[in-house]
């Protein structure tokens, strides 16, 4: 069996990629989803704030997902649910498994990787103490409360100020739990400012920056945690320990793109993002394999996931329509300075930029009053002022066709952040 395009993941990225590929003229598409419904993580994100960029209205996660699910269904784009992609080979053969068809291998002309990300677990955080019940990742607690209808606990401490942790601080408070404190290792929050305001400040929940959990008490169930301040090298400072009695500890300590399948097939991974290295078409190091959404780099806003995935879907369609042929292409690396940690894409071939290209990036620390520039062969093509830049907020610059046309022999693309 063979499909022109297989999309791995039926969350926001996979749905937007499928719609864009269809609208670019591709018809033989298959979306593979491991859950029992389309929509991905949006199904458990019942809070509002989604879609302002895309739809100019404020939607909840399920409502935002419904727009795209309806779009997929209106186009009759095929999808399979309850189906796990077990393996993808470097020649784009996808091994799928589900209860009705068993294990089968399907060849693909092109693939869009849209598997999303996972939460960093307790094991990855090296928190000492016993392993009692009552320790959850924030997203697990979110699923339990919003979809399964269970309360994970009554007295809660949250480690990490990622957006899901902040959202869950409010959600558990509304459902009657007492959220005692949110501790954040870094001197700044990992979440969006608006979530600090509407999830913590609104409910008087304290946020302790530069603090971490140094002990978990309780053998069968969490009975309490000890929080301590950390120094500039993130080491706990003796004498600053505070005990909190609680029955639940939530962890919201970052997300990791889920790239086991990508690695197995031999896609190059960027060690900074933990996502594939991609060019301007969001194509990975394997021609015809594209990536978008949180599997590529962790986003703060689903709107940008949709936008990015639509670009990947359109690029995948173009690849198939060009006969899946490997073409010679330039790879002008995107270099950066001034606190930028990474960019997506990592390289650009101007010949493949249609009207415009969005380059997304993150900075490594909180910076005020900056100028973001894009230099094409040393000449300033983009200049924008930013009042505040933070690691928790993704930045973007837009490069237009016109800018590239002014530099036909372009050799260097550089993103620079400097003091205003």
């Amino acid at each position: 069996m063979k499909h022109d395009l297989i999309i791995l993941g039926g969350g926001p990225a996979g749905l937007a990629a499928a719609i864009a590929a269809y609208d670019a003229g591709l018809r033989d598409i298959l979306i593979v989803e491991r859950d029992k419904e389309l929509g991905g993580i949006l199904n458990q994100c019942i809070h509002n704030g989604f879609g302002l960029h895309t739809f100019k209205e404020e939607l909840t996660g399920p409502e935002y997902a419904a727009r795209f699910i309806d779009g997929v269904k209106a186009r009759n784009i095929p999808y399979v649910l309850n189906t796990m992609a077990l393996h993808v080979s470097s020649d784009k053969r996808v091994t799928l498994m589900n209860r009705t068809d068993g294990v089968q291998t399907v060849a693909a002309g092109a693939i869009v990787l849209a598997m999303g990300c996972r939460e960093r677990s307790r094991g990855a955080l090296n928190i000492p103490g016993y392993r009692p019940a009552g320790i959850y990742s924030a997203g697990t607690a979110q699923r339990l409360v919003n979809i399964e209808g269970y309360m994970p606990g009554r007295e809660v401490v949250i480690l990490g100020s990622g957006d899901i942790g902040l959202i869950m601080a409010r959600r558990l408070t509304l459902e009657g739990a007492k959220v005692k404190v949110v501790a954040e290792l870094m001197p700044y929050s990992g979440g969006l400012k608006r979530n600090i305001v509407q999830c913590l400040d609104d409910y008087g929940i304290p946020l302790k920056l530069s603090h971490t959990v140094v002990d978990i008490r309780g053998r069968k169930r969490v009975e309490g945690v000890t929080i301590a301040a950390v120094d500039e090298r993130n080491r706990p400072i003796p004498g600053t320990e505070e005990d909190y009695d609680c029955d639940t500890l939530l962890l919201s300590c970052g997300l990791i793109p889920e790239n086991e399948l990508s690695r197995e097939m031999g896609v190059s991974i960027n060690p900074i993002t933990n996502g594939p290295v991609v060019n301007e078409s969001l194509e990975t190091s394997i021609p015809g394999v594209f990536a978008a959404g949180n599997v590529l780099h962790v986003h703060d806003l689903v709107d940008f996931v949709s936008e990015e995935a639509a670009a990947a879907g359109a690029a995948a369609a173009a690849y198939v329509q060009a006969g899946c042929a490997d073409v010679a292409r330039r790879e002008i690396p995107v270099s950066f300075e001034g606190g930028v940690r990474y960019t997506v894409p990592c390289s650009i071939d101007p010949a493949f930029v249609k009207d415009a290209l969005t380059v997304r990036f993150r900075v490594g620390g909180v910076m005020k009053n900056r100028i973001v520039s894009v230099l094409l062969d040393g000449e300033q093509a983009v200049k924008k002022r930013r009042q505040i830049m933070a690691p928790g907020e993704m930045e973007e610059v837009r490069l237009t066709r016109e800018m590239f046309d002014r530099h036909p022999d372009l050799r260097e693309i550089r993103i620079k952040v400097e003091e205003a």
């Binding site: 019942i46 939607l59 909840t60 996660g61 409502e63 979809i147 209808g149 509304l174 608006r194 305001v197």
Partner: protein
């Protein structure tokens, strides 16, 4: 003249805004990048409101759903949030449920309905 610094919660941009007030009357709003910011700032310093999102119990779903996500159809006064949650605590609705279907009318006497944010079959 009194100034209040706010962070807009209208969208994830989180614009830092400054509101100036004279005897409780808003004189100016700055720092916002869209009209929503202006509206939010004026409301926030006089009569703050929020959209409340939650879930209620579901019976009879053919897909096995036990909850349906919901929201207040528009923002309600901040002080009424917990009364709204109490009103939702005992509610059970039976499937099928349409997206946008009113689940609780005039929740906690706010004049606002709580509506389903997902279709449940």
């Amino acid at each position: 003249m009194e100034t209040v610094n706010l962070i807009c919660i209208g969208c994830p941009m989180g614009c830092p805004m400054t509101v100036t007030l004279e005897n409780g009357v808003v004189q100016s709003v700055s720092g916002n990048t869209c009209r929503r910011g202006d509206i939010y700032a004026r409301k926030e310093v006089t009569a703050p409101t929020r959209i409340v999102t939650s879930t209620v119990r579901v019976t009879g779903s053919t897909t096995g759903a036990v909850t349906v996500p919901c929201k207040t159809a528009s923002d309600i006064p901040k002080k009424d949030i917990f009364r709204c949650m109490e009103a939702l605590a005992g509610v059970t609705v039976s499937a099928p449920i349409r997206l946008g279907q009113a689940l609780v009318k005039n929740v906690a006497s706010t004049g606002v309905d709580v509506v389903a944010t997902k279709e449940i079959l």
